[in-house]
């Protein structure tokens, strides 16, 4: 049980990072379906840089940078050229899968030292609670801090209010003198940065190696997570841990005597995602309350 809880905290981190990034982008009115692709290039860039330089920090930054670079492509086509956002996001994922596979082909089968675990001597080792909560790498805590920061930014700052206004009513925000496309571009880049970071966490800490398509749909689950969280950072944290719990069931289910073929246990996260979407979406009031009104709609300053 202890090992299970520890693994849940670790598995939740990439969901949390990618989900928070997408949440901010969607709050500004941008629906970027390319999270899976951005996570993959983040994962491969982080692994490649860490493998060659030996620095995990450099790898993390490289992963985040690669994710942001892909998001930049999205911004040019979807925000600059007003292309359909859903289609552009799909293109980003197709491109990201191919590009990460190409970059990573020399790194398949290589290993690196996983991200270093922190720990407070005397506290981390002596109690079960300490081992579960305190013995993780720095990203587990940074992801949580990021959730707090995003929540504070969206709800308590002027810039956050502006971002939300742009997501709800870009024409009105534009009339007030806000730079809609500029803010949306920044939000999109932040989304890519976070997705890249989430991917980097997968290849540096979760399983310290690179494998083609190693995200296995986590980018898509992160997208569902944003809906599940009804666009609120606090709920996103809860959702990330919930989804991580389901993901980890496939590894622990067999030990706990669940006699199902491994493929059925591996389906659990996807089926749970569908169930979660249904439960949240059926309540129109719940989703409409926070959903950005202009999500996915291109904006062009007419006047």
């Amino acid at each position: 049980m202890e090992a299970f809880l520890i693994s849940v905290l670790i598995a939740a981190t990439p969901f949390l990072l990618a989900g928070l990034g997408e949440l901010v982008a969607e709050r500004s009115g941008v629906l970027n379906l390319g999270v899976e692709g951005m996570m993959l290039v983040g994962a491969v860039a982080a692994f490649a840089v860490t493998y060659t330089t030996g620095s995990a920090a450099a790898g993390m930054l490289a992963g985040a940078g690669a994710g942001a670079a892909l998001a930049g492509l999205f911004a040019i086509v979807a925000l600059g050229l007003l292309a359909n956002q859903a289609a552009t996001g799909l293109a980003l994922t197709i491109f990201g899968v191919g590009a990460s596979g190409l970059i990573g082909q020399g790194f398949v089968g290589q290993t690196i030292k996983p991200l270093q675990k922190l720990g407070i001597p005397g506290l981390t080792d002596t109690t079960a609670l300490g081992r579960i909560l305190l013995g993780h790498d720095v990203m587990v805590y940074l992801a949580l801090a990021l959730a707090l920061a995003v929540g504070w930014f969206l709800n308590a700052t002027r810039a956050g209010l502006m971002l939300r206004a742009i997501g709800d009513n870009p024409e009105g925000a534009h009339a007030l003198g806000f730079h809609v496309v500029r803010v949306r571009t920044l939000a999109t880049l932040f989304g890519g940065f976070c997705a890249g970071l989430g991917g980097a966490y997968l290849s540096l800490a979760y399983t310290p190696m690179w494998g083609e398509n190693m995200t296995a749909g986590r980018g898509w689950i992160a997208l569902a997570l944003v809906v599940f969280a009804t666009w609120r950072p606090g709920r996103l944290v809860a959702g990330a841990y919930l989804f991580a719990t389901v993901t980890q069931l496939q590894f622990y289910g067999q030990d706990w005597g669940i006699r199902l073929p491994s493929q059925f246990l591996a389906m659990a996260p996807y089926l749970a995602t569908i169930a979660a979407l249904v439960i949240i979406s059926r309540d129109v009031n719940l989703t409409k309350a926070n959903a950005p009104a202009a999500i996915g709609r291109p904006f062009r300053a007419e006047r």
Partner: protein, 356 residues
């Protein structure tokens, strides 16, 4: 002086045709840069990618073989996307169709006669329809996002197939490989050109594309779908059912994806294997967009993407280029296409920015 976009009075029909051509050109230029960066002679590599598939009769037939599943799926997706219903789980519906067909083919090894083959195809379509009915039901009944639900179901379908070919359907004489028994001759899609693998599926793809195009252009249902897709509020005022459009779009595209899965398996590998889908469900999205979200146009889009597949295989063999380069080409193509499509509704003007 900054370039800026200025709305055209009405969408340019000419740009709508020119845009894919420009996008292909830009993809070739970007591809040449990528190949140069990989240390290859770009002229030679591009020749292998985009010309070599046309150089002999066998390759030309292979192009069509590759294009059949893409065209079938792409034609259905064109209808779906036109109605603004984002079925991106065609890969899962394709697998579900192949499995439903497999249920017939593996369950009736003694069967002979064309009727059984027709039943096999019907089962394939039904499998795809059933798989697509899940997102349709959850979207119309519970308002659950069809993009995410259909995509999640793709992972589920692939895992289900993986379980089936390692478990109940595993060929006992298959040396432990994860694959089903071979389908009997009854369940082989007939070859229509001796000496190649060109099969009758191409006829089904053409018929489906033409029928869907006529449906979209000439019937009330087609009109409804287009209105609801372009202007949902106008569709609602006209009394068109949003729910009906979602069901129709998902079932048509799911049925065709399922049919594509059944045809592909019965025409090429003749057995179920874990990796039959080969990403067709995703790549067919590009085919639909290349074909201007027109079912007949998806035929051409599918052929263009088939060139990248066959060329990619040739490049793997002749130039030892990694297979992922093909995916990059395909992703770039969609990017450039979406970018160029801006010019359908806007023109580029050089001049001073208007006050923000």
């Amino acid at each position: 002086m900054m370039p800026r976009l200025e709305a055209r009075a009405e969408p340019s029909a000419w740009m709508s045709i020119a845009s894919p051509v420009i996008a292909i050109g830009l993809t070739l230029v970007a591809g040449a840069m990528l190949l140069t960066a990989l240390g290859r002679d770009p002229a030679e590599a591009l020749w292998v990618y985009f010309v070599s598939p046309f150089t002999d009769a066998y390759s030309r037939a292979e192009l069509v073989v590759k294009a059949v599943p893409l065209a079938l799926i792409g034609a259905g997706l064109a209808v779906s996307f036109r109605a603004n219903v984002w079925n991106i789980g065609a890969a899962g519906q394709y697998v579900a169709g192949a499995m439903a067909g497999g249920l017939v083919a593996l369950g009736a090894p003694e069967a002979t006669g064309t009727a059984w083959y027709v039943l096999y195809l019907a089962a394939g379509a039904a499998g795809g329809i059933a798989w697509a009915a899940i997102p349709a039901f959850l979207r119309t009944r519970f308002n659950a996002n069809e993009i995410l639900v259909s995509l999640m179901l793709t992972y589920v379908a692939v895992l289900l197939l993986d379980w089936a070919v390692r478990g109940p359907w595993r060929d006992p004489l298959g040396f432990g490989f994860p694959q089903s028994r071979d389908f009997t001759q009854t369940f082989h899609t007939p070859v229509i050109l001796e000496g190649t693998r060109l099969h009758a599926g191409v006829l089904i793809a053409v018929i489906a594309a033409v029928a869907l195009t006529l449906m979209m252009d000439r019937t009330l249902r087609g009109f409804e779908l287009r209105v609801i897709g372009a202007a949902p509020r106008a569709g609602a005022f006209a009394g068109f059912s949003q729910t009906g459009a979602v069901w129709f779009a998902l079932l048509v595209s799911g049925g065709l994806a399922g049919l594509a899965g059944a045809i592909e398996v019965s025409a090429t590998v003749h057995q179920l294997q874990p990796d039959i889908s080969a990403g067709y469900g995703f790549v067919a999205i590009i085919a639909a967009f290349l074909g201007r979200l027109n079912p007949a146009g998806a035929l051409f889009g599918a052929l263009i993407l088939a060139v990248s597949y066959i060329g990619g295989e040739n490049a793997q063999i002749l130039l030892k280029l990694p297979k992922n380069v093909t995916g990059i080409f395909q992703g770039m193509l969609l990017f450039f296409l979406l970018g160029c499509d801006t010019l359908i509704r806007y023109r580029i003007v050089w001049g001073r920015r208007l006050a923000p």
